[in-house]
């Protein structure tokens, strides 16, 4: 019989111990009110804390001696069937699944009781890695027969951290699947109606041209927008596309030590101005003209949006749609602002093993299964994202006509994949976006100039970066 971990034994013994530490008064002696209250509170507190502690600090072994692997992921990405399949293939492991919740994850990390396997993005991992919260995976990659460094596409490099920068050094996570999120999807039928030539599926359009086409495709009537020419998923991310625009012009988002930003450079101001012009033209949803559900998909499917900026994953939405949709959609390369063609991923969702995880070896087994086993092959074949392994690229679907076109465009786009800058001193888009949105809106409403907005963004983000530096050291 396997020996129970020490913590489990303590938890099991706690109720009796909690009560017995408050001795009864001698017979015939009255207990004082204060003592009664203190005792009651402590006893009840002790009794209450047992299940609470038990909930926070679940046993790492099940009753039948299996290792309990705590996994925090999205239920639609790591399904019950996949979990059952993994458990069947690894009879000594039982998965305790927790739906992904950033706040709960933070609490678990802070209390040194993290899950063993956690969902996380590659772009934005710098902070986690700089804080020493993730496990270095090189030792596992070097020994693995199914996952090794040679098999990984460069997108995984955003999970690398050398102590100063992303892109080099050990791997601290692996990408599940990804997309080059600046690519464009468009509806040919709406182009035809507006008598505009469809976008090239091989050559990138410039952002300025894209805005002009967006204006021509936009239809308004009676103060309402019937058709949006161009959607940018404003509610999802402003930081990543703005960064891409800056990099495409040869600019930088952060200083070399990642502790400062400057959004008053000519490159940054041009990018900000493009966004201001886009919003003023009213060609797509923004915070000043929000989409009903905050996303472009419903508008695009309803033929109320001609172009939407989304990655390869977007194609997964259309497989079950009508032939009218499938026969009219197409994907175009990411637009460019400047001379350098860059087509990055905005996130690259994957997984990491926390540094304080209790079952790292078992978590690695799940990593191998999830990233290189049947789930990864199913994902690659589904069209919901680009696989993160070189060997699986050819599995991407090409059955439907639109899938063939998308596959070809996407293959050519891979050449321009590049990592977005990621500072460990700030929480990525989550911290950038409210600041960008606030000052962009002021510029759009002509309350401030674009230059003043750039200065205000610089000041606010630098303040956050400084605080992050103060925190991480």
């Amino acid at each position: 019989m396997p020996q129970l971990p020490r913590r489990t034994q303590l938890i099991g013994a706690a109720p009796a111990g909690a009560v017995s530490q408050f001795p009864r008064p001698p017979a015939g002696q009255h207990i004082s009110r204060r003592r009664f209250l203190t005792s009651s509170a402590l006893a009840a507190g002790g009794a209450l804390s047992v299940p609470l502690l038990g909930a926070c600090n679940a046993s790492t072994e099940s009753g039948d001696g299996k290792t309990v692997l705590t996994v925090m992921y999205m239920a639609n990405e790591l399904t019950k069937e996949q979990i059952a399949d993994f458990e069947a293939k690894n009879p000594d492991i039982k998965i305790r699944f927790i739906a992904h919740d950033g706040t709960r994850l933070n609490a678990m990390l802070a209390s040194n009781e993290p899950p063993d396997f956690v969902r996380g993005p590659a772009v934005g991992s710098a902070r986690t890695n700089a804080q020493g919260l993730a496990t270095e995976l090189d030792q596992y990659l070097d020994k693995s027969s199914v996952l090794n460094k040679e098999s990984l596409l460069p997108v995984n490099d955003s999970f690398r951290w050398d102590g100063k920068q992303i892109g080099s050094g050990p791997y601290y996570g692996l990408v599940k699947d990804w997309s080059q999120d600046a690519t464009l999807w468009y509806n040919r039928a709406l182009f035809k109606e507006a008598k505009i030539e469809p976008l090239s599926t091989t050559e990138p359009i410039s952002y300025d041209e894209l805005l002009e086409i967006g204006k021509k495709l936009t239809k308004k009537s009676g103060g309402k927008t019937q058709v949006y020419g161009l959607g940018l998923e404003w509610a999802w991310n402003l930081y990543a596309p703005l960064s891409m625009m800056i990099l495409q012009q040869g600019g930088e988002v952060y200083s070399s030590d990642l502790t400062e930003t400057d959004m008053t450079t000519p490159q940054a101001l041009r990018a900000l101005k493009w966004y201001v012009d886009f919003a003023k033209a009213g060609v797509g949803p923004t915070s000043l003209d929000p989409a009903p559900d905050g996303a472009d998909l419903s508008l695009f499917l309803a033929k109320r949006m001609a172009i939407t900026q989304d990655g390869y994953w977007y194609g997964g939405n259309f497989v079950e749609e009508s032939d009218e949709i499938k026969n009219n959609i197409a994907m175009a390369p990411a637009p460019v602002m400047g001379d350098k063609r860059i087509s990055p991923t905005y996130a690259g969702w994957g997984a990491y093993i926390p540094a304080k995880a209790k079952h790292k070896d078992e978590a690695w087994k799940l990593m191998e299964y999830f990233m290189a086993g049947k789930p990864s092959e199913d994902r690659a074949k589904s069209g919901w994202g680009i696989p993160a392994l070189k060997s699986q690229l050819e599995m991407m679907p090409q059955e439907l006509p639109y899938q063939k076109q998308v596959y070809q465009t996407q293959q050519a786009e891979l050449e321009y994949a590049e990592q977005l800058p990621d500072s460990p001193y700030i929480g990525g888009a989550t911290a950038w976006d409210p600041v960008l949105n606030k000052h962009l809106l002021r510029a759009i409403k002509n309350e401030v100039t674009v230059e003043a907005a750039g200065k205000a963004i610089t000041d606010e983000i630098n303040k956050l970066l400084q605080q992050g530096k103060d925190q991480i050291g």
Binding site: T103, L109, G132, W236, G427, L464
Partner: protein, 314 residues
């Protein structure tokens, strides 16, 4: 002897009574200790650190968070905005609840049905209500603009500045039913003979309402004002859900006019991961709410009428 014995017995009885009280109150006391006092103390401790909510790397920063927030223009602006929102929303909420209660206190056919209809929105979960209103307010597909269109009013972009402020007030007013029920109960507790006496003395309906009914229900109005002030100060879910916020911890694009103090706190916690700073904000906010509530309490001496003179009983 007799006196001593009586005293002893009374002391024993008193002790028994107190124990019973505390025993029955213990679930609440425990809940308060574990779920309120402990987190409050924890937040106070965190407010003196640069803790980011997850990293073991944090340190004591003394009063830095407190001094910094008084220099933070966004914090001050959101505080002023919250005070303004409270000053506007609470009187409308209280007057609206009272108005509805007066209407539904009449002898009408199917008055119970009307009461249920007006009360129903207040039992709909706020998240569901906010999502529903977000769709109602949508410029292009929302039903509100469709209705306006019928009367030839051009579509309004409700969910952006400055209209977002009014949209939030409308959303809050949608839940008036809860206050209405309390006001209704208070109205029905007003002795009819007092109103009849006033009518016999020559008072018209308005004079009866203003000089008899309102003073009689003023303790309930006072209760509504106090709870309304605390409620509006703490509003956070509604502005987040009316805007383009996707989920907790994710991006927020809340319009400036509805960027209330608690929204600022939310962003500091979940977008900027500044747990120490946000905790300091909450403690300062706690003191602000306390002061405002005490002011309202003190003002009650001037306008709240109690049938029992509590001062005379002492």
């Amino acid at each position: 002897m007799t006196t001593k014995g009586t005293r002893r017995r009374r002391k024993g009885w008193q002790r028994y009574s107190s124990r019973t009280f505390y025993l029955f109150a213990s679930p609440w006391l425990l809940g308060f200790a574990l779920l309120t006092a402990l987190p409050l103390g924890y937040a106070l401790a965190i407010s003196f650190t640069n803790f980011d909510g997850r990293s073991p790397r944090w340190r004591w920063v003394g009063l830095r968070n407190y001094t910094e927030l008084f220099d933070d223009a966004d914090v001050l602006a959101s505080m002023v905005r919250t005070l303004a929102f409270t000053a506007i929303a609470v009187p409308i909420m209280v007057a609206g609840g009272l108005g509805l209660a007066v209407l539904l206190n009449q002898r009408l056919k199917a008055v119970g049905l009307f009461r249920a209809i007006f009360f129903l929105p207040s039992v709909v979960p706020m998240v569901a209500a906010a999502i529903m209103w977000k769709l109602i307010f949508n410029r292009d597909v929302g039903i509100l603009n469709e209705i306006l269109d019928v009367i030839s009013i051009p579509p309004v972009t409700w969910l952006v500045d400055p209209n977002a402020f009014y949209a939030l007030v409308i959303l809050i007013l949608w839940g008036l039913g809860g206050g209405m029920v309390i006001m209704l109960a208070a109205l029905q507790g007003v002795p009819a003979e007092l109103e009849e006496a006033a009518i016999i003395d020559g008072a018209n309906r308005w004079q009866v309402f203003w000089n008899v009914t309102v003073p009689m229900i003023s303790p309930v109005i006072f209760f509504q004002v106090v709870t309304g002030v605390i409620f509006t100060f703490q509003i956070v879910i509604q502005p987040l859900l009316l805007s383009q916020t996707r989920e907790v911890g994710q991006v927020t694009h809340v319009p400036e006019s509805t960027h209330l103090f608690m929204v600022q706190v939310y962003e500091e916690y979940f977008a900027n991961n500044r747990y120490g700073y946000a905790s300091a904000m909450l403690w300062v906010f706690f003191l602000v709410i306390l002061v405002v509530t005490l002011i309202v309490l003190r003002s009650s001496r001037l306008w709240v009428h109690y049938e029992v003179d509590s001062e005379a009983d002492r």
